[in-house]
């Protein structure tokens, strides 16, 4: 038997197993999943206030920041978010890496507006939503490049300037991290970051990143 025959025999098997669950049952379950996401969103919003307190503490105690983690800081005006080695939140951490890339480490899908503001201040045209819905003002960059990825594997390839990095020990454990190189984004493109579910012990978390057309309404001015 040559390989083509073997592959044909293997493929013949797939039609012999039938998924018997009715679509109505799937959709009913989908309603429950969606409601669970909404509950997570409410809880996350409530936690954002606590996160803001942590930011204040971090800014007030610069000595606690890791030295050298933000090499571009000296070239930026005082008060610019990039002057902070890392903006530490309970939900996520944004750190500028050598070479201008920016790493976002997720612990919780909370304070999307704060993350969006921080990333934009660091030069990333981006729209961030954690509600399970995407910004309706965002349009795919092009039919061929609008893609979404999730931090499922040990690593994924570049996506027009964005690439995921994985936990080196276990790709399935948090925190998830996303590295963005703004200079590598295609001209006129921005990023859309959205999530489904909540990172952490829950297995429902999914991080979606796609290329979108940069615009004031979607990715900011």
């Amino acid at each position: 038997m040559i390989d083509d025959e073997l592959i044909t025999v293997l493929r013949e098997q797939r039609g012999k197993v039938v998924m018997t669950t009715p679509v109505e049952q799937i959709i009913n379950r989908g309603h429950a999943v969606r409601n669970r996401h909404r509950v997570h969103g409410v809880v996350a919003a409530a936690g954002a206030a606590a996160a803001a307190v942590v930011v204040t503490v971090s800014v007030a105690l610069p000595a606690s920041r890791p030295a050298g983690s933000h090499p571009a800081a000296s070239h930026l005006p005082a008060g610019h978010p990039a002057n902070l080695p890392s903006a530490r939140l309970t939900a996520w951490t944004v750190t500028r890496l050598a070479g201008g890339s920016i790493r976002v480490t997720f612990r919780e899908a909370a304070d999307a507006a704060g993350l969006q503001r921080t990333l934009r201040a660091d030069g990333v045209p981006v729209s961030v939503t954690f509600t399970g819905q995407q910004n309706p003002a965002c349009q795919p960059y092009s039919a061929g490049t609008s893609q979404a990825f999730w931090p499922f594997g040990p690593s994924t390839g570049p996506l027009g300037g964005a690439r995921f990095i994985a936990n080196p020990k276990d790709a399935y454990t948090t925190p998830y991290a996303l590295v963005i190189d703004p200079s590598a984004l295609p001209s006129g493109a921005g990023l859309q970051i959205s999530t489904s579910g909540t990172p952490g012990p829950s297995d429902s978390f999914q991080l979606d990143v796609s290329l979108v057309q940069a615009s004031a309404q979607c990715t900011g001015g």
């Binding site: 098997q13 998924m19 959709i27 297995d203």
Partner: protein, 172 residues
């Protein structure tokens, strides 16, 4: 996307992809009931996030990947309670007469289950979902060359496992 009637497109997608997704997950987890539960949960999550999943270049791959991740999480929650057999050591799957519809060749399934987990995932995505190498690599988070290497090793192992049996059958 019109969120007012997402179930129409979703229902069409479900009808067209459900069996292939089930088989792809079955190859990875080895148990039909478990596979059906995981795929149903993954499709439910796909429905809940249909506005973004429908834009994924390979929504069926999204479902399979989500199902496999749910399986990993479920296994981690339960492993302290129930010993889990190493699928790579499965000798026969399942015994004759134990399949839900009695039509899957148990020797082929047993041979698939003897493959290492990553090879099974590559086979599931490349051969049973018909994804190309690039898309398979993205879904699994590995390099395209690694996908090809895993597929080559898997085919070689399956050839060694299945071809002698089938040749003997044809000679008898």
């Amino acid at each position: 996307m019109d969120m007012g009637s997402p179930s129409l497109d979703f229902a069409e997608f479900y009808r067209g992809a459900k069996d292939d997704c089930l088989f792809a997950v079955l190859v990875s987890v080895g148990d039909q009931d478990t596979a059906q539960d995981l795929v149903a949960e993954a499709f439910a999550r796909a429905w809940a996030s249909w506005s973004s999943v429908s834009r994924h270049p390979a929504p069926a791959a999204w479902v399979v990947r989500t199902a496999l991740n749910a399986g990993v999480s479920r296994w981690r929650r339960r492993r302290r309670e129930v010993p889990v057999p190493d699928l790579a050591l499965v000798a026969d799957w399942p015994a004759a007469g134990e399949t839900a519809d009695g039509s899957v060749d148990p020797r082929i399934m047993a041979a698939l289950l003897r493959l290492p987990a990553r090879q099974r995932q590559v086979v599931a995505l490349r051969l049973f979902l018909d994804l190309d190498t690039e898309c398979t690599a993205r879904v699994l988070g590995i390099a395209p060359g690694t996908v090809q290497a895993h597929l080559g090793r898997a085919i070689a192992a399956l050839r060694g496992d299945l071809v002698p049996t089938r040749q003997e059958e044809s000679q008898s």
